[in-house]
Amino acid sequence: MWEHSKTRNSTWKASSKSASSLKPLLIPSPPPLSSSFSFYTVRRNHPRSAYMTEGSNYDFLFKVVLIGDSGVGKSNLLSRFTRNEFNLESKSTIGVEFATRSINVDGKTVKAQIWDTAGQERYRAITSAYYRGAVGALLVYDIAKHATYVNVTRWLKELRDHADSNIVIMLVGNKSDLKHLRAVPTDEAKAFSTENGLSFIETSALDASNVEAAFQNILTDIYRIVSSKSLEQSADPIKPPTDTLNVSPSVEPTNNQGGKCC
């Protein structure tokens, strides 16, 4: 199964190079709010600034998903990156959770809108709806639990079925602090990544090592693809991301999520 999956996923190799349909997913910013939401009517005239979330100023907004088996540390990676917090006593994620942070790439402010998904199989129908419109995915496994690494191929299939074909994927081996319990050799995961066209990093949300780098790397990768694309053709930035994606049958029950549900 392992070998088989490898070959099936070899199509991922070149995918990140041809960012043909990445464009519609990119939302360039200034002026911040009006641009990203200008296609909706703002019906209220409340002073909005009081409740406006900080970090509204950005040049690029990228939607990224965190996926991987239950208990590999997705939520703590996210909290380490967005709030520099690690919580030993965290509860399981139900459905999806959302967080955001802006970083600097080549002098541009890149804002990451990150959706942290529940790992359990049962939630797949719900969480896969969030792959739509994502330009990046951090696929996380636990270096101390080999089964979570074996499942990486299943997660790649999930992405292939539900996400945009040009999504940038980074394989993340988390819990690198558990050196004495390591069950997945770094070289093996690195080789697998190369073979499947993924970038790769090992992190520890607990001791914070490489967490910043992981997000920085994937956001930079996305930024490079997007900005090189921007030079070629003028932007057609505002377009509902759902237009670009095929919704597979298994998302059928959630198709009321397609933007206008009522």
């Binding site: 939401f37 406006m52 979330t53 006593e89 509860k91 359990q120 129908a125 719900i126 602090d177 029950p253």
Partner: protein
């Protein structure tokens, strides 16, 4: 869904009807809770043996590293790894058998860890750092304006414990009631024996909930004492009615529902919940044998489920349960004790393998906790959340576990399609909620729409965990008083109206936020200070919505 007249609620003057007295507990549906005797393959041990304090030892729950293989242990199955008796062990020590996770907190120096006992990410409320503090804060809110559901319980007797077995218990681990043995056999024993509440606040206080009254009594202003007197008389009055209702030879379920809707006194709650759920039979003479039978049945289910080695378990289900049990109410002492965690594992696993269409789904673990805590509270005189259940006699612990299992089963029977493939129950509820909010708060619905916020993005969890991730367990317990009084549909139907009222509560704030602000706000709502009063307001609003819209479904959507 059939229309039915609702019971009387607080805040709303609706004349109680007698018709719901005819609503028997069979409303809950004859689920497998009652026919499960048929699936136990081995004939049950005689009920007599079960009533004895020392039941024969069932098999241990297999652990990955446990080397006990299939040998039957001489001691109880709950003591695979005994908790550290000296003090509350940090999480890393509670479960030494999971090195990959547990080794994390140990032995590493110089790391910056943020320990938070509250799950609400980005919570700005520093008061919620510790559960005890959170409770204490709620007390502050309760003080002065809470009338219902906070009835005075009896002072703790100073006398030590009846059983030498219990002499281990110390103040920091909790106190077992001297009449625990009688309560085990007859859940109403404690209620019958207890005199009506005396003046509160004079004695040491068994439950945190009573502390505000002490504070209030130390420095009573005239207004305050008058108010307190009034509240007290209302409470005493309600309490009398409750006791009268519960101690009848044949409990009038209609009357009980009516009373329970407005909140159940803490010490009467274990019995009242079990009656409302149809677990405990309404006619008093049947209760003893039913309890014995159900507890025995559960025990044999456990034995059957864990009859073989770890390899005999459903690996997928067991794996997920193993991951989630240590993450259930993390940081709360009760749930960090190995004894509690083993109980939780058994409850979840047995339920899951008996319901293959859903199996174990994350979030169901949360739903066990109110039952377990409430049923535990019947046997102890201290705060359940601080209690180490290893102190309990084995058969009492087994009874709490069995009662929790059956009551959880009954609750889940009403919301099973929340947890089967693609979770259609939740999809439907979220959709209906969106339609309802469009009707009751059009500006909010329009704003959410304009910001591209989808109900699924926040309300999924509200349905999946019955709001338990949004409000405290104390809040949840109060809420379930009303849900159980509402009847079998409440956890799917009435809950939808509660969620709608809950969302609309924040309407004004939400309408001034953008997409990101809305999602972040709804992910960590400021409910840390909520007490019974806030929950009761919410329930009242939900009741109004329910009365208006429930039978007018053709008016919204489909």
């Amino acid at each position: 869904m059939t229309a039915r007249p609702p019971p009387a609620r607080p805040h709303i003057a609706i004349n109680p009807t007698t018709s719901f007295a005819s609503r028997a507990t069979s409303d809950w549906g004859e689920d497998d809770a009652w026919d499960s005797a048929s699936d136990s393959e081995s004939p049950k041990q005689s009920t007599i043996s079960f009533t004895r304090p020392a039941p024969s030892a069932p098999r241990p729950v297999p652990r990955s590293i446990s080397s006990s293989s299939s040998s039957t242990l001489a001691f109880s199955y709950t003591h695979i790894s005994a908790p550290n008796p000296s003090s509350y062990p940090p999480r890393g020590e509670v479960l030494p058998e999971e090195p990959s996770q547990q080794a994390v907190p140990n032995g590493k120096n110089g790391w910056t860890l943020v320990r938070k006992s509250h799950d609400r990410t980005g919570s700005q409320n520093a008061d919620a750092e510790k559960p005890q503090e959170a409770n204490a804060q709620q007390d502050g809110d309760i003080e002065g304006d809470m009338i219902l559901g906070d009835l005075d319980t009896e002072p703790v007797p100073d006398i030590a414990l009846a059983d030498p077995h219990q002499s281990r218990s110390r103040a920091d681990k909790g106190t077992i009631r001297p009449d625990a043995e009688e309560i085990y056999r007859d859940p109403l024993y404690g209620i019958r024996q207890r005199p009506p509440p005396r003046r509160p606040g004079l004695s040491s206080v068994p439950s945190i909930q009573n502390r505000p009254h002490i504070k209030a009594e130390v420095l009573p202003s005239n207004d305050k004492s008058e108010k307190l007197m009034r509240e007290r008389s209302i409470k005493t009055n309600r309490r009398h009615k409750f006791i009268e209702c519960l101690t009848g030879q044949d409990v009038n379920i209609g009357e009980l529902r009516k009373l329970a809707w407005a909140g159940i006194p803490e010490d009467l709650r274990p019995v009242a919940w079990q009656l409302l759920l149809g677990y405990l039979p309404l006619p008093a003479p049947h209760r003893k044998t039913t309890l014995e039978r159900k507890r025995g049945e559960y025990k044999s289910l456990v034995e059957l489920a864990f009859a073989r080695d770890r390899e005999g378990l459903d690996q997928q289900i067991w794996h997920q349960i193993e991951i989630d049990v240590p993450r259930t109410r993390p940081g709360v002492r009760l749930w960090m004790h190995a004894t509690t965690q083993r109980s939780l594992e058994r409850i979840l696993y047995v339920w899951a393998i008996r319901h293959p269409a859903s199996g174990y789904v994350q979030g169901i673990n949360d739903l066990v906790t109110p039952f377990f805590q409430v049923f535990l509270s019947a046997y102890i005189d201290s705060d359940p959340e601080m209690f180490d259940p290893a102190l309990l006699p084995q058969h009492v612990l087994d009874a709490i576990e069995a009662d929790s299992f059956w009551c959880l089963s009954r609750l889940l029977d009403g919301i099973q399609d929340n947890y089967i493939f693609a979770q259609p129950g939740i999809q439907r509820s979220v959709k209906r909620m969106a339609e309802l909010v469009k009707r009751i708060d059009a500006p909010l619905a329009a704003h959410l729409d304009s910001q591209n916020v989808e109900f699924m993005q926040f309300a999924f969890r509200w349905m999946n965990c019955l709001l338990m991730r949004e409000i405290s367990v104390q809040n949840t317990i109060r809420m379930w008083d009303t849900y159980l009084a509402e009847g079998p549909d409440a956890f799917s139907q009435f809950h939808l109206y509660v969620c709608s009222a809950f969302l609309v509560k924040w309407s004004e704030k939400l309408r001034q936020m953008d997409f990101q602000g809305i999602i972040m706000f709804l992910q960590s709502l400021p409910t840390q200070g909520w007490g019974d009063h806030e929950i009761e307001m919410l329930l009242s609003e939900a009741f109004v919505l329910n009365s208006i819209w429930q039978n007018a479904q053709s008016h919204f959507g489909k």
